[in-house]
Amino acid sequence: MRTRRDPRAERQAKLVPGTARPRFLVGAAPAGFANAGAATGPTGRPRRDPRASRAAAVVRTAPRLRLDWTNKGQASLAIGTAQAAAAVKAAVRVIEEPAFLVLAVLDQPGGAPSDHDRQLIAGARLLADAGGGAVVAVTVEGVSGLGEAGADRLLALPADLAEGYEPERHAAAVLAAIETLKPRHVLFAESADGGADLARRVAAALGERLFAGVEALSPDRASRRARGGAAEMARAPARLMSVAADALPPHEGTVHEARTIPAPAFEAERRIGAVRPLAVDPDLIPLTETDFILSAGNGVTDWEGFAELARVLGATRGGSRVVCDEGHLPRERQVGASGSLVRAGCYVAYGIAGAPQHLQGITEVKRVVAINTDLHAEMIKRADLAIVADAQEVMPALIRHALERRAERQGKERRNA
């Protein structure tokens, strides 16, 4: 007996719920498919929903429509998020028999790998992947997470190298690693935290040229800035290179195995000793060097309070021209076209309206906090955080707040200890 088919019911059964237009899943329908998410078809294949992806790409609608079609944003919508993440996690790339090695000598200021270090590994990855090589990250003991950054091997040097300042020993350790591993390329971080120094020590000891401060890198070409910044010098990637900060993107996508390999023994003569960090009063750091400036303008009247505020925040004091003219701050504290051109990470403009000459002095500053009574002041426009208030009135509250928070922190530390 032939079973009777009910085409309507079948059709209804194949209807995929949750989409705007009726969609049907033809073919074998596994049980419970109706529960499957909208973005994944019952077969497990990812499904596209052009409307949803367009909606997700909308950055803003007014005054004009703006769309952002870079894949990264869409990925989470086009592919099921959890599944995509799982897929990436699963794919640990293992390079068992590398054709050659590329060393990335990490900088690790303060012990942990920095963004610069990740860029370095990415650079090494680039060179390694071009010919089936493997990346060896030269790090110190106790560092993890470099597999995600793109390292195939880890060569861990003694941890005390990262703590003290022994550039000669550090160089000897890296030299020993180069001697043993015979890498095709060695990449260093061109950083003032020690990477630049290490690269040059190693290069000098090997008697090889260092292609220093690489700004752009591809498997067949590396380029750097030379002649006081006026010229670009390019050639095939050298054996020893140091990479400038933010020149390369960090590695993404694949995870590498980061297998630990043994560090070779080394020894070094010590000619530098009695190393100790000097306590530096933040207020005595020259404006051009400091990273955090508290700068006063016409809105400040209580100068003792201002000094106190700088002290509790740990900032270097600066000031506008008028303030320095009036003698509240010495001339070398003046920020602006006729004073210092500063490049601090954070600049707190305290009661500064923002004359063009002053703004010229802070063009290189990354973040600006402004406190000013005038909403239309130029400095408020320039600021990343702008407070329209009387700077002088906020001062005692800010001092109090900073002291309270510090006391809290210290209390917590004591409890932890």
Binding site: D68, I285, A386
Partner: protein, 255 residues
């Protein structure tokens, strides 16, 4: 008496491209001139007819030795040979010599050639018996002190004291002493392709993650901030907002 050699190169002004004293080498010379009772030997490898060399003399030097080598050749062997004969206690040079490759290798190669110790990024120094006490400049205004034995090569950091003004009359009176030297042609630079530097777009740190709006913001953000504005908050609100922001920016430590 303390014997100090200062290695001087010729810099180029970034705006005009004209030769000038290299700012870092001038700082090295300034540090040397501040050492009490030091016997200073200033050395340059290059063309003795370069008029800008006199700017160093104008800082108060009586004479300047120029190892005469052709342009584009490697100055290191000539410098090492000259310094071996001179055997100074202390050799000062800018962190990065200008005019050649600008790789900052010169102090290291000289130290290697002489078998001397090297300390980089020095902002200040004082000399004792057989050793020097040096202050190193680290990022973000930090300082570190170290001691090192002579012979010592020191590379000088931009945080070192401003070089004194070069006086025209002293520059005119000083003596440039040319010494013939041999130098191998530098093949490495010859392999390189050199062209004018073109500024390239800055790589954004916030390339991945975040919402599309955040990424667009990061990509289009100009220096005229588009930040948060608090209008007429109370003093406490304002204080909290500022403090939180500073903590968020890791300007103030949280630990």
């Amino acid at each position: 008496m303390l014997k100090v050699a200062v290695l001087l190169s010729i810099g180029r002004h970034p705006a005009s491209g004209r030769p000038r004293r290299a700012p870092l080498d001038a700082r090295a010379l300034e540090l040397a001139l501040r050492l009490p009772g030091a016997e200073i030997h200033a050395v340059h490898a290059g063309d003795p007819a370069e008029p800008v060399l006199r700017d160093y003399l104008g800082m108060g030097l009586d004479r300047l030795t120029v190892l005469e080598i052709p342009a584009g050749s490697d100055p290191v062997p000539a410098l090492v040979a000259h310094l071996k004969a001179l055997s100074p206690d202390l050799i000062l040079a800018g962190r990065c010599a200008e005019g050649g490759e600008d790789s900052g290798m010169l102090p290291y190669l000289v130290a290697q050639g002489l078998g001397a110790a090297l300390l980089p990024d020095v902002a200040d120094l004082s000399a004792g018996e057989g050793t020097a006490t040096l202050t190193q400049a680290l990022p973000r205004g930090r300082r570190r002190q170290a001691e090192a034995r002579f012979p010592l090569v020191v590379s000088v950091h931009p945080a070192a004291p401003e070089p004194r003004q070069s006086a025209f009359a002293r520059a005119r009176r000083g003596l440039v002493e040319a010494v013939a030297a041999s130098a191998p042609q530098d093949g490495f630079i010859g392999e390189c392709e050199i062209r004018p530097w073109r500024p390239r777009p800055k790589r954004l740190r916030l390339a991945a993650g975040g919402s599309a709006l955040e990424r667009l913001k990061a990509a289009t953000e100009t220096k005229s901030g588009q930040g948060q504005v608090l209008v007429r908050p109370t003093a406490d609100e304002a204080a909290r907002a500022i403090y939180e922001y500073l903590v968020e920016q890791r300007v103030i430590g949280t630990s």
